[in-house]
Point group: C2
Chain length 305, copies 2
Protein backbone atom coordinates (compact mmCIF):
# COMPACT_ATOMS: atom_id res chain seq x y z
CA UNK A 1 0.00 0.00 0.00
CA UNK A 2 1.24 3.47 -0.84
CA UNK A 3 3.36 5.44 1.57
CA UNK A 4 2.28 8.75 0.08
CA UNK A 5 -0.42 10.64 1.90
CA UNK A 6 -2.19 13.69 0.56
CA UNK A 7 -3.26 16.22 3.19
CA UNK A 8 -5.71 18.66 1.68
CA UNK A 9 -5.92 22.00 3.43
CA UNK A 10 -9.58 22.93 3.87
CA UNK A 11 -9.02 25.87 6.21
CA UNK A 12 -10.00 28.44 3.60
CA UNK A 13 -13.38 26.74 3.40
CA UNK A 14 -14.22 24.80 6.59
CA UNK A 15 -12.03 27.08 8.66
CA UNK A 16 -13.36 30.40 7.43
CA UNK A 17 -16.95 29.17 7.35
CA UNK A 18 -17.44 29.52 11.08
CA UNK A 19 -15.15 32.29 12.20
CA UNK A 20 -15.96 35.96 12.45
CA UNK A 21 -12.91 37.42 10.71
CA UNK A 22 -13.44 38.13 7.04
CA UNK A 23 -10.22 37.73 5.06
CA UNK A 24 -9.74 39.71 1.88
CA UNK A 25 -9.15 37.89 -1.40
CA UNK A 26 -5.58 39.14 -1.31
CA UNK A 27 -4.91 37.69 2.13
CA UNK A 28 -6.52 34.38 1.18
CA UNK A 29 -4.23 34.16 -1.83
CA UNK A 30 -1.24 34.97 0.30
CA UNK A 31 -2.23 32.07 2.61
CA UNK A 32 -2.66 29.76 -0.38
CA UNK A 33 0.74 30.66 -1.82
CA UNK A 34 2.51 30.16 1.50
CA UNK A 35 0.91 26.77 1.96
CA UNK A 36 1.82 25.67 -1.56
CA UNK A 37 5.41 26.62 -0.86
CA UNK A 38 5.23 24.43 2.28
CA UNK A 39 4.53 21.45 0.00
CA UNK A 40 0.75 21.33 -0.38
CA UNK A 41 -0.64 20.39 -3.78
CA UNK A 42 -4.37 20.33 -3.12
CA UNK A 43 -6.39 22.91 -1.20
CA UNK A 44 -10.12 23.46 -0.87
CA UNK A 45 -9.88 27.17 -1.48
CA UNK A 46 -13.51 28.22 -1.40
CA UNK A 47 -17.18 27.29 -1.31
CA UNK A 48 -19.80 28.07 -3.93
CA UNK A 49 -22.65 28.81 -1.56
CA UNK A 50 -25.03 31.80 -1.65
CA UNK A 51 -22.93 34.91 -0.88
CA UNK A 52 -25.90 36.31 1.00
CA UNK A 53 -25.69 33.48 3.52
CA UNK A 54 -21.90 33.25 3.72
CA UNK A 55 -20.39 36.55 2.53
CA UNK A 56 -16.89 35.29 3.32
CA UNK A 57 -17.14 33.22 0.13
CA UNK A 58 -18.47 35.95 -2.15
CA UNK A 59 -15.05 36.04 -3.85
CA UNK A 60 -15.27 32.34 -4.77
CA UNK A 61 -14.96 32.89 -8.53
CA UNK A 62 -12.01 35.19 -8.14
CA UNK A 63 -10.27 32.80 -5.72
CA UNK A 64 -10.60 29.95 -8.23
CA UNK A 65 -9.33 32.08 -11.11
CA UNK A 66 -6.34 33.29 -9.12
CA UNK A 67 -5.47 29.90 -7.59
CA UNK A 68 -5.63 28.25 -11.00
CA UNK A 69 -2.54 30.31 -11.85
CA UNK A 70 -0.46 28.51 -9.20
CA UNK A 71 0.98 25.65 -11.19
CA UNK A 72 1.81 23.27 -8.30
CA UNK A 73 -1.75 23.50 -6.95
CA UNK A 74 -5.02 21.73 -7.62
CA UNK A 75 -7.52 24.18 -6.13
CA UNK A 76 -10.84 22.61 -5.20
CA UNK A 77 -14.21 24.04 -4.19
CA UNK A 78 -17.14 22.82 -2.15
CA UNK A 79 -20.61 22.80 -3.66
CA UNK A 80 -23.95 21.84 -2.15
CA UNK A 81 -26.26 22.06 -5.17
CA UNK A 82 -26.46 22.42 -8.95
CA UNK A 83 -26.31 26.20 -8.93
CA UNK A 84 -23.10 26.08 -6.91
CA UNK A 85 -21.63 23.46 -9.21
CA UNK A 86 -22.39 25.55 -12.30
CA UNK A 87 -20.79 28.62 -10.74
CA UNK A 88 -17.70 26.55 -9.85
CA UNK A 89 -17.47 25.12 -13.36
CA UNK A 90 -17.83 28.56 -14.90
CA UNK A 91 -15.08 29.85 -12.64
CA UNK A 92 -12.81 27.12 -13.99
CA UNK A 93 -12.56 24.82 -10.92
CA UNK A 94 -10.55 21.66 -11.64
CA UNK A 95 -12.18 19.71 -8.84
CA UNK A 96 -15.38 20.20 -6.94
CA UNK A 97 -16.53 18.35 -3.85
CA UNK A 98 -20.25 17.85 -3.55
CA UNK A 99 -21.50 17.40 0.01
CA UNK A 100 -24.65 15.69 1.20
CA UNK A 101 -25.47 14.40 4.69
CA UNK A 102 -26.15 10.82 5.66
CA UNK A 103 -28.33 12.24 8.44
CA UNK A 104 -31.68 13.32 7.03
CA UNK A 105 -32.09 15.95 9.71
CA UNK A 106 -28.66 17.39 9.03
CA UNK A 107 -29.28 17.48 5.28
CA UNK A 108 -32.58 19.28 5.88
CA UNK A 109 -30.97 21.82 8.16
CA UNK A 110 -27.91 22.26 5.94
CA UNK A 111 -29.41 22.34 2.44
CA UNK A 112 -33.13 22.27 3.09
CA UNK A 113 -33.97 19.06 1.23
CA UNK A 114 -33.99 15.30 1.70
CA UNK A 115 -30.74 13.39 1.29
CA UNK A 116 -32.18 11.56 -1.73
CA UNK A 117 -32.85 14.90 -3.40
CA UNK A 118 -29.20 15.82 -2.82
CA UNK A 119 -28.26 12.48 -4.34
CA UNK A 120 -30.25 13.28 -7.49
CA UNK A 121 -28.52 16.64 -7.69
CA UNK A 122 -25.18 14.87 -7.56
CA UNK A 123 -26.21 12.69 -10.50
CA UNK A 124 -27.18 15.78 -12.44
CA UNK A 125 -23.87 17.51 -11.63
CA UNK A 126 -22.01 14.46 -12.90
CA UNK A 127 -24.04 14.73 -16.13
CA UNK A 128 -23.34 18.45 -16.48
CA UNK A 129 -19.61 17.97 -15.94
CA UNK A 130 -19.23 15.01 -18.30
CA UNK A 131 -17.75 16.94 -21.17
CA UNK A 132 -15.64 19.23 -19.01
CA UNK A 133 -12.21 18.45 -17.59
CA UNK A 134 -13.24 18.44 -13.96
CA UNK A 135 -13.16 15.98 -11.09
CA UNK A 136 -16.36 15.63 -9.10
CA UNK A 137 -15.75 14.23 -5.62
CA UNK A 138 -18.45 13.25 -3.14
CA UNK A 139 -18.36 13.91 0.59
CA UNK A 140 -20.82 12.35 3.00
CA UNK A 141 -21.33 14.61 6.01
CA UNK A 142 -22.31 13.17 9.42
CA UNK A 143 -21.02 9.74 8.34
CA UNK A 144 -20.18 8.90 11.95
CA UNK A 145 -23.11 10.47 13.76
CA UNK A 146 -25.12 13.66 13.88
CA UNK A 147 -25.61 16.19 16.63
CA UNK A 148 -29.27 16.62 15.63
CA UNK A 149 -30.26 13.04 14.83
CA UNK A 150 -27.77 11.13 17.00
CA UNK A 151 -26.61 7.85 15.48
CA UNK A 152 -26.41 7.43 11.71
CA UNK A 153 -26.80 3.89 10.34
CA UNK A 154 -23.61 2.57 8.77
CA UNK A 155 -25.72 0.96 6.05
CA UNK A 156 -27.08 4.32 4.96
CA UNK A 157 -23.60 5.79 4.61
CA UNK A 158 -22.45 2.80 2.57
CA UNK A 159 -25.52 2.89 0.36
CA UNK A 160 -24.95 6.56 -0.44
CA UNK A 161 -21.25 5.95 -1.04
CA UNK A 162 -21.91 3.05 -3.39
CA UNK A 163 -24.53 5.02 -5.29
CA UNK A 164 -22.29 8.07 -5.76
CA UNK A 165 -19.30 5.94 -6.76
CA UNK A 166 -21.49 4.28 -9.37
CA UNK A 167 -22.67 7.67 -10.63
CA UNK A 168 -19.04 8.65 -11.19
CA UNK A 169 -17.67 10.28 -8.04
CA UNK A 170 -13.90 10.74 -8.33
CA UNK A 171 -13.52 9.98 -4.61
CA UNK A 172 -15.69 9.21 -1.60
CA UNK A 173 -14.92 11.35 1.43
CA UNK A 174 -16.45 10.30 4.74
CA UNK A 175 -16.81 13.31 7.02
CA UNK A 176 -17.10 13.35 10.78
CA UNK A 177 -18.81 16.72 10.64
CA UNK A 178 -19.58 16.99 14.35
CA UNK A 179 -16.70 15.03 15.89
CA UNK A 180 -18.63 11.89 16.89
CA UNK A 181 -16.30 9.28 15.35
CA UNK A 182 -14.11 6.91 17.32
CA UNK A 183 -11.31 4.70 15.95
CA UNK A 184 -13.35 1.48 16.04
CA UNK A 185 -16.13 3.09 14.04
CA UNK A 186 -13.62 4.52 11.57
CA UNK A 187 -12.04 1.12 11.01
CA UNK A 188 -15.39 -0.54 10.59
CA UNK A 189 -16.84 2.01 8.17
CA UNK A 190 -13.78 2.39 5.93
CA UNK A 191 -13.24 -1.34 5.88
CA UNK A 192 -16.78 -1.79 4.52
CA UNK A 193 -16.45 1.23 2.24
CA UNK A 194 -13.59 -0.44 0.36
CA UNK A 195 -15.88 -3.37 -0.43
CA UNK A 196 -18.61 -1.09 -1.70
CA UNK A 197 -16.71 1.34 -3.93
CA UNK A 198 -13.89 -0.76 -5.34
CA UNK A 199 -11.18 1.37 -6.91
CA UNK A 200 -12.73 4.75 -6.18
CA UNK A 201 -10.29 6.47 -3.81
CA UNK A 202 -11.38 6.96 -0.19
CA UNK A 203 -10.83 10.16 1.76
CA UNK A 204 -11.47 11.16 5.37
CA UNK A 205 -12.50 14.45 6.92
CA UNK A 206 -12.14 14.36 10.70
CA UNK A 207 -12.90 16.91 13.34
CA UNK A 208 -11.17 16.93 16.70
CA UNK A 209 -14.23 18.01 18.65
CA UNK A 210 -13.80 15.30 21.28
CA UNK A 211 -10.05 14.76 20.98
CA UNK A 212 -10.07 11.65 18.81
CA UNK A 213 -9.16 13.30 15.51
CA UNK A 214 -5.63 11.94 15.12
CA UNK A 215 -6.53 8.55 16.59
CA UNK A 216 -9.17 8.39 13.85
CA UNK A 217 -6.54 9.26 11.24
CA UNK A 218 -4.44 6.30 12.40
CA UNK A 219 -7.48 4.01 12.16
CA UNK A 220 -8.29 5.24 8.65
CA UNK A 221 -4.66 4.82 7.54
CA UNK A 222 -4.85 1.19 8.65
CA UNK A 223 -7.81 0.73 6.32
CA UNK A 224 -5.95 2.24 3.39
CA UNK A 225 -7.12 5.84 3.41
CA UNK A 226 -4.41 8.12 1.98
CA UNK A 227 -6.33 11.39 1.57
CA UNK A 228 -7.11 13.54 4.60
CA UNK A 229 -8.72 16.94 5.02
CA UNK A 230 -7.36 19.20 7.74
CA UNK A 231 -7.20 22.89 8.61
CA UNK A 232 -4.26 25.00 9.72
CA UNK A 233 -4.33 25.42 13.53
CA UNK A 234 -7.53 23.35 13.58
CA UNK A 235 -9.53 26.37 12.43
CA UNK A 236 -13.22 25.85 12.21
CA UNK A 237 -14.79 25.26 15.57
CA UNK A 238 -18.21 23.79 16.04
CA UNK A 239 -21.41 25.82 15.58
CA UNK A 240 -23.12 24.08 18.49
CA UNK A 241 -20.40 24.30 21.15
CA UNK A 242 -18.65 27.62 21.79
CA UNK A 243 -14.94 27.14 22.33
CA UNK A 244 -14.99 23.60 20.99
CA UNK A 245 -12.33 22.63 18.50
CA UNK A 246 -12.96 22.07 14.83
CA UNK A 247 -11.09 20.17 12.16
CA UNK A 248 -7.94 18.25 12.91
CA UNK A 249 -4.95 20.59 12.67
CA UNK A 250 -2.99 20.30 9.43
CA UNK A 251 0.37 20.67 11.16
CA UNK A 252 -0.35 17.98 13.77
CA UNK A 253 -1.77 15.62 11.16
CA UNK A 254 1.29 16.04 8.95
CA UNK A 255 3.59 15.55 11.92
CA UNK A 256 1.77 12.36 12.93
CA UNK A 257 2.00 11.01 9.38
CA UNK A 258 5.71 11.72 9.02
CA UNK A 259 6.33 10.21 12.46
CA UNK A 260 4.60 7.05 11.29
CA UNK A 261 6.83 6.90 8.24
CA UNK A 262 4.40 8.25 5.64
CA UNK A 263 5.48 10.79 3.08
CA UNK A 264 3.50 14.04 3.10
CA UNK A 265 5.99 16.27 1.24
CA UNK A 266 5.41 18.89 3.94
CA UNK A 267 8.15 21.36 4.88
CA UNK A 268 7.51 21.80 8.62
CA UNK A 269 9.51 24.96 9.05
CA UNK A 270 7.49 26.69 6.36
CA UNK A 271 4.28 25.21 7.74
CA UNK A 272 4.96 26.56 11.22
CA UNK A 273 5.86 29.94 9.73
CA UNK A 274 2.50 29.90 7.99
CA UNK A 275 0.84 29.12 11.30
CA UNK A 276 2.43 32.21 12.88
CA UNK A 277 1.36 34.25 9.89
CA UNK A 278 -2.23 33.04 10.32
CA UNK A 279 -2.18 33.81 14.02
CA UNK A 280 -1.51 37.44 13.04
CA UNK A 281 -4.20 37.41 10.35
CA UNK A 282 -6.77 35.94 12.74
CA UNK A 283 -5.94 37.46 16.11
CA UNK A 284 -9.42 36.80 17.55
CA UNK A 285 -9.53 33.11 16.79
CA UNK A 286 -8.54 30.36 19.21
CA UNK A 287 -5.77 28.49 17.44
CA UNK A 288 -5.52 24.78 18.09
CA UNK A 289 -2.85 22.33 16.99
CA UNK A 290 -0.16 21.20 19.41
CA UNK A 291 2.87 21.43 17.15
CA UNK A 292 2.56 25.20 16.91
CA UNK A 293 3.20 25.46 20.66
CA UNK A 294 5.64 22.58 21.16
CA UNK A 295 7.69 22.61 17.97
CA UNK A 296 9.30 19.56 16.41
CA UNK A 297 11.12 16.97 18.51
CA UNK A 298 14.89 17.51 18.37
CA UNK A 299 15.38 14.13 16.71
CA UNK A 300 12.51 14.52 14.25
CA UNK A 301 13.34 13.98 10.61
CA UNK A 302 10.96 14.29 7.74
CA UNK A 303 11.58 12.82 4.38
CA UNK A 304 11.73 16.06 2.48
CA UNK A 305 14.59 17.57 4.43
CA UNK B 1 -8.10 -9.60 27.33
CA UNK B 2 -9.78 -7.51 29.99
CA UNK B 3 -12.26 -4.83 29.10
CA UNK B 4 -11.58 -2.92 32.31
CA UNK B 5 -9.25 0.02 32.09
CA UNK B 6 -7.86 1.90 35.05
CA UNK B 7 -7.28 5.61 34.47
CA UNK B 8 -5.12 7.00 37.24
CA UNK B 9 -5.46 10.71 37.80
CA UNK B 10 -1.98 12.23 38.18
CA UNK B 11 -3.06 15.87 38.00
CA UNK B 12 -2.30 16.50 41.67
CA UNK B 13 1.29 15.49 40.98
CA UNK B 14 2.23 15.95 37.31
CA UNK B 15 -0.37 18.67 36.89
CA UNK B 16 0.57 20.80 39.89
CA UNK B 17 4.28 20.27 39.38
CA UNK B 18 4.55 22.80 36.59
CA UNK B 19 1.86 25.35 37.23
CA UNK B 20 2.10 28.53 39.22
CA UNK B 21 -1.01 28.24 41.37
CA UNK B 22 -0.41 26.70 44.77
CA UNK B 23 -3.46 24.78 45.97
CA UNK B 24 -4.06 24.42 49.71
CA UNK B 25 -4.24 20.96 51.25
CA UNK B 26 -7.95 21.49 51.74
CA UNK B 27 -8.58 22.28 48.08
CA UNK B 28 -6.47 19.32 46.97
CA UNK B 29 -8.58 17.04 49.16
CA UNK B 30 -11.73 18.53 47.78
CA UNK B 31 -10.46 17.73 44.25
CA UNK B 32 -9.57 14.19 45.32
CA UNK B 33 -13.00 13.60 46.85
CA UNK B 34 -14.84 14.90 43.81
CA UNK B 35 -12.81 12.70 41.51
CA UNK B 36 -13.39 9.63 43.65
CA UNK B 37 -17.11 10.29 43.48
CA UNK B 38 -16.76 10.43 39.68
CA UNK B 39 -15.56 6.82 39.79
CA UNK B 40 -11.77 7.01 40.18
CA UNK B 41 -10.11 4.45 42.44
CA UNK B 42 -6.44 5.29 42.04
CA UNK B 43 -4.90 8.75 42.09
CA UNK B 44 -1.31 9.93 42.32
CA UNK B 45 -2.03 12.49 44.99
CA UNK B 46 1.42 13.87 45.71
CA UNK B 47 5.17 13.68 45.27
CA UNK B 48 7.79 13.13 47.98
CA UNK B 49 10.37 15.51 46.61
CA UNK B 50 12.32 18.15 48.54
CA UNK B 51 9.79 20.79 49.68
CA UNK B 52 12.44 23.43 49.12
CA UNK B 53 12.51 22.62 45.41
CA UNK B 54 8.79 22.04 44.95
CA UNK B 55 6.90 23.75 47.77
CA UNK B 56 3.55 22.74 46.24
CA UNK B 57 4.25 19.25 47.61
CA UNK B 58 5.28 20.27 51.12
CA UNK B 59 1.97 18.86 52.39
CA UNK B 60 2.73 15.40 50.95
CA UNK B 61 2.52 13.56 54.28
CA UNK B 62 -0.74 15.21 55.19
CA UNK B 63 -2.23 14.51 51.76
CA UNK B 64 -1.40 10.80 52.11
CA UNK B 65 -2.81 10.60 55.64
CA UNK B 66 -6.04 12.34 54.60
CA UNK B 67 -6.49 10.42 51.33
CA UNK B 68 -5.96 7.12 53.11
CA UNK B 69 -9.26 7.82 54.86
CA UNK B 70 -11.17 7.67 51.58
CA UNK B 71 -12.09 4.02 51.45
CA UNK B 72 -12.73 3.71 47.65
CA UNK B 73 -9.31 5.19 46.86
CA UNK B 74 -5.80 3.84 46.51
CA UNK B 75 -3.72 7.03 46.87
CA UNK B 76 -0.27 6.79 45.33
CA UNK B 77 2.81 8.99 45.52
CA UNK B 78 5.79 9.63 43.31
CA UNK B 79 9.31 9.21 44.66
CA UNK B 80 12.68 9.80 43.04
CA UNK B 81 15.06 8.51 45.70
CA UNK B 82 15.39 6.60 48.97
CA UNK B 83 14.72 9.59 51.18
CA UNK B 84 11.46 10.25 49.34
CA UNK B 85 10.46 6.60 49.58
CA UNK B 86 11.06 6.53 53.34
CA UNK B 87 8.98 9.67 53.80
CA UNK B 88 6.18 8.12 51.73
CA UNK B 89 6.30 4.87 53.70
CA UNK B 90 6.26 6.75 56.99
CA UNK B 91 3.25 8.73 55.80
CA UNK B 92 1.45 5.45 55.17
CA UNK B 93 1.38 5.41 51.36
CA UNK B 94 -0.13 2.19 49.96
CA UNK B 95 1.61 2.52 46.62
CA UNK B 96 4.63 4.49 45.52
CA UNK B 97 5.88 4.99 42.00
CA UNK B 98 9.63 5.28 41.64
CA UNK B 99 10.77 7.19 38.56
CA UNK B 100 14.05 6.98 36.72
CA UNK B 101 14.88 8.12 33.19
CA UNK B 102 16.02 5.94 30.33
CA UNK B 103 17.83 9.00 29.04
CA UNK B 104 21.08 9.51 30.95
CA UNK B 105 20.99 13.24 30.37
CA UNK B 106 17.44 13.51 31.61
CA UNK B 107 18.20 11.45 34.71
CA UNK B 108 21.18 13.70 35.44
CA UNK B 109 19.13 16.83 35.03
CA UNK B 110 16.14 15.44 36.95
CA UNK B 111 17.79 13.66 39.89
CA UNK B 112 21.44 14.51 39.49
CA UNK B 113 22.80 10.98 39.13
CA UNK B 114 23.32 8.26 36.52
CA UNK B 115 20.40 6.04 35.58
CA UNK B 116 22.21 3.01 36.99
CA UNK B 117 22.49 4.77 40.35
CA UNK B 118 18.73 5.34 40.27
CA UNK B 119 18.33 1.66 39.47
CA UNK B 120 20.32 0.71 42.57
CA UNK B 121 18.16 3.02 44.65
CA UNK B 122 15.10 1.22 43.32
CA UNK B 123 16.55 -2.09 44.47
CA UNK B 124 17.16 -0.65 47.90
CA UNK B 125 13.62 0.75 48.10
CA UNK B 126 12.27 -2.70 47.25
CA UNK B 127 14.37 -4.10 50.10
CA UNK B 128 13.17 -1.45 52.55
CA UNK B 129 9.53 -2.04 51.67
CA UNK B 130 9.66 -5.84 51.80
CA UNK B 131 8.04 -6.21 55.19
CA UNK B 132 5.57 -3.39 54.69
CA UNK B 133 2.22 -3.65 52.93
CA UNK B 134 3.09 -1.37 50.04
CA UNK B 135 3.21 -1.64 46.26
CA UNK B 136 6.33 -0.30 44.61
CA UNK B 137 5.76 0.55 40.95
CA UNK B 138 8.45 1.61 38.50
CA UNK B 139 8.12 4.32 35.89
CA UNK B 140 10.65 4.85 33.14
CA UNK B 141 10.69 8.50 32.07
CA UNK B 142 11.72 9.50 28.53
CA UNK B 143 10.96 5.97 27.31
CA UNK B 144 10.09 7.30 23.85
CA UNK B 145 12.69 10.03 23.47
CA UNK B 146 14.20 12.91 25.35
CA UNK B 147 14.22 16.62 24.66
CA UNK B 148 17.83 16.86 25.87
CA UNK B 149 19.34 13.70 24.45
CA UNK B 150 17.05 13.10 21.45
CA UNK B 151 16.43 9.44 20.67
CA UNK B 152 16.47 6.86 23.46
CA UNK B 153 17.40 3.29 22.50
CA UNK B 154 14.50 0.86 22.85
CA UNK B 155 16.95 -1.74 24.16
CA UNK B 156 17.88 0.50 27.09
CA UNK B 157 14.24 0.97 28.09
CA UNK B 158 13.60 -2.77 27.90
CA UNK B 159 16.72 -3.58 29.89
CA UNK B 160 15.69 -1.21 32.68
CA UNK B 161 12.14 -2.57 32.64
CA UNK B 162 13.32 -6.17 32.85
CA UNK B 163 15.69 -5.35 35.65
CA UNK B 164 13.10 -3.52 37.74
CA UNK B 165 10.47 -6.22 37.15
CA UNK B 166 12.98 -8.79 38.36
CA UNK B 167 13.74 -6.67 41.43
CA UNK B 168 10.04 -6.73 42.30
CA UNK B 169 8.32 -3.76 40.66
CA UNK B 170 4.54 -4.07 40.98
CA UNK B 171 4.10 -2.53 37.53
CA UNK B 172 6.22 -1.08 34.74
CA UNK B 173 5.02 2.30 33.54
CA UNK B 174 6.53 3.65 30.32
CA UNK B 175 6.36 7.42 30.29
CA UNK B 176 6.49 9.72 27.29
CA UNK B 177 7.71 12.57 29.46
CA UNK B 178 8.26 15.08 26.67
CA UNK B 179 5.63 14.03 24.14
CA UNK B 180 7.91 12.40 21.58
CA UNK B 181 6.05 9.08 21.17
CA UNK B 182 4.13 8.05 18.09
CA UNK B 183 1.71 5.11 17.75
CA UNK B 184 4.18 2.88 15.87
CA UNK B 185 6.79 3.36 18.56
CA UNK B 186 4.23 2.68 21.28
CA UNK B 187 3.16 -0.56 19.65
CA UNK B 188 6.72 -1.67 19.16
CA UNK B 189 7.92 -0.88 22.68
CA UNK B 190 4.93 -2.31 24.57
CA UNK B 191 4.91 -5.38 22.38
CA UNK B 192 8.54 -6.05 23.37
CA UNK B 193 7.91 -5.06 26.97
CA UNK B 194 5.39 -7.89 27.37
CA UNK B 195 8.08 -10.36 26.38
CA UNK B 196 10.52 -8.92 28.88
CA UNK B 197 8.41 -8.56 32.01
CA UNK B 198 5.99 -11.47 31.80
CA UNK B 199 3.08 -11.08 34.21
CA UNK B 200 4.11 -7.74 35.68
CA UNK B 201 1.36 -5.31 34.66
CA UNK B 202 2.19 -2.63 32.10
CA UNK B 203 1.12 1.00 32.39
CA UNK B 204 1.45 4.01 30.11
CA UNK B 205 1.95 7.67 30.84
CA UNK B 206 1.43 9.78 27.74
CA UNK B 207 1.71 13.48 27.15
CA UNK B 208 -0.15 15.25 24.37
CA UNK B 209 2.64 17.69 23.57
CA UNK B 210 2.48 17.02 19.83
CA UNK B 211 -1.15 15.91 19.60
CA UNK B 212 -0.61 12.16 19.50
CA UNK B 213 -1.58 11.38 23.10
CA UNK B 214 -4.87 9.60 22.43
CA UNK B 215 -3.58 7.88 19.29
CA UNK B 216 -0.82 6.50 21.53
CA UNK B 217 -3.43 5.29 24.02
CA UNK B 218 -5.15 3.33 21.24
CA UNK B 219 -1.82 1.78 20.21
CA UNK B 220 -1.02 0.80 23.82
CA UNK B 221 -4.49 -0.69 24.30
CA UNK B 222 -3.86 -2.89 21.27
CA UNK B 223 -0.75 -4.22 23.01
CA UNK B 224 -2.67 -5.02 26.18
CA UNK B 225 -2.01 -1.96 28.34
CA UNK B 226 -4.94 -1.38 30.70
CA UNK B 227 -3.48 1.25 33.06
CA UNK B 228 -3.16 4.85 31.92
CA UNK B 229 -2.05 8.02 33.68
CA UNK B 230 -3.84 11.24 32.77
CA UNK B 231 -4.55 14.67 34.22
CA UNK B 232 -7.80 16.59 34.43
CA UNK B 233 -7.96 19.19 31.63
CA UNK B 234 -4.54 18.01 30.51
CA UNK B 235 -2.90 20.01 33.30
CA UNK B 236 0.84 19.99 33.35
CA UNK B 237 2.32 21.72 30.37
CA UNK B 238 5.88 21.32 29.27
CA UNK B 239 8.78 23.11 30.99
CA UNK B 240 10.57 23.68 27.69
CA UNK B 241 7.73 25.04 25.57
CA UNK B 242 5.51 27.81 26.93
CA UNK B 243 1.87 27.22 26.04
CA UNK B 244 2.49 23.62 25.04
CA UNK B 245 0.10 21.00 26.34
CA UNK B 246 0.99 18.48 29.03
CA UNK B 247 -0.48 15.13 29.93
CA UNK B 248 -3.37 13.60 28.05
CA UNK B 249 -6.63 14.91 29.50
CA UNK B 250 -8.39 12.51 31.85
CA UNK B 251 -11.83 13.35 30.53
CA UNK B 252 -10.86 12.86 26.86
CA UNK B 253 -9.02 9.64 27.64
CA UNK B 254 -12.01 8.24 29.51
CA UNK B 255 -14.35 9.29 26.72
CA UNK B 256 -12.16 7.59 24.12
CA UNK B 257 -12.02 4.40 26.16
CA UNK B 258 -15.78 4.24 26.71
CA UNK B 259 -16.36 5.00 23.01
CA UNK B 260 -14.15 2.02 22.16
CA UNK B 261 -16.20 -0.22 24.44
CA UNK B 262 -13.86 -0.32 27.43
CA UNK B 263 -15.16 0.03 30.96
CA UNK B 264 -13.64 2.90 32.93
CA UNK B 265 -16.34 3.23 35.65
CA UNK B 266 -16.25 6.97 35.03
CA UNK B 267 -19.34 9.11 35.61
CA UNK B 268 -18.95 11.75 32.92
CA UNK B 269 -21.39 14.25 34.34
CA UNK B 270 -19.50 14.32 37.62
CA UNK B 271 -16.19 14.39 35.78
CA UNK B 272 -17.21 17.42 33.73
CA UNK B 273 -18.49 19.11 36.90
CA UNK B 274 -15.07 18.53 38.43
CA UNK B 275 -13.48 20.09 35.38
CA UNK B 276 -15.56 23.25 35.85
CA UNK B 277 -14.64 23.26 39.52
CA UNK B 278 -10.95 23.05 38.62
CA UNK B 279 -11.27 25.85 36.08
CA UNK B 280 -12.40 28.05 38.99
CA UNK B 281 -9.60 26.83 41.25
CA UNK B 282 -6.97 27.42 38.59
CA UNK B 283 -8.15 30.51 36.72
CA UNK B 284 -4.69 31.33 35.33
CA UNK B 285 -4.03 27.95 33.77
CA UNK B 286 -4.74 27.06 30.15
CA UNK B 287 -7.15 24.14 30.35
CA UNK B 288 -6.90 21.55 27.61
CA UNK B 289 -9.15 18.57 26.95
CA UNK B 290 -11.75 18.72 24.21
CA UNK B 291 -14.69 17.16 26.02
CA UNK B 292 -14.91 20.06 28.46
CA UNK B 293 -15.74 22.38 25.56
CA UNK B 294 -17.76 20.06 23.35
CA UNK B 295 -19.66 17.90 25.86
CA UNK B 296 -20.75 14.33 25.22
CA UNK B 297 -22.29 13.26 21.93
CA UNK B 298 -26.10 13.10 22.19
CA UNK B 299 -26.06 9.36 21.50
CA UNK B 300 -23.13 8.61 23.85
CA UNK B 301 -23.72 5.91 26.41
CA UNK B 302 -21.25 4.80 29.01
CA UNK B 303 -21.53 1.55 30.78
CA UNK B 304 -22.05 2.98 34.24
CA UNK B 305 -25.19 4.94 33.46
Amino acid sequence: MSNLVNIREVGLRDGLQLIKTNLSTELKLSWINKQVSAGFTEMEVTSFVPPKLLPQFSDATDIIIQSNKIKELKPTALVLNIKGAIRAIEAGAKKITFVLSASEKHNQSNVNCATDQSLSMFDEIIEISKDIKIEVAAAIATSFGCSIQGSVPEMRVLELAKEMAKMGASEINLADTVGYANPNQVKSLFSELKNQIGCTPMAAHFHDTRGMGLANVVAALQEGVRRFDATMAGLGGCPFAPGASGNIATEDCAYLLESLGFDTSVDFDKLLELRSYLSNLLPHEKLEGRLGFAGKAINFKNKLL
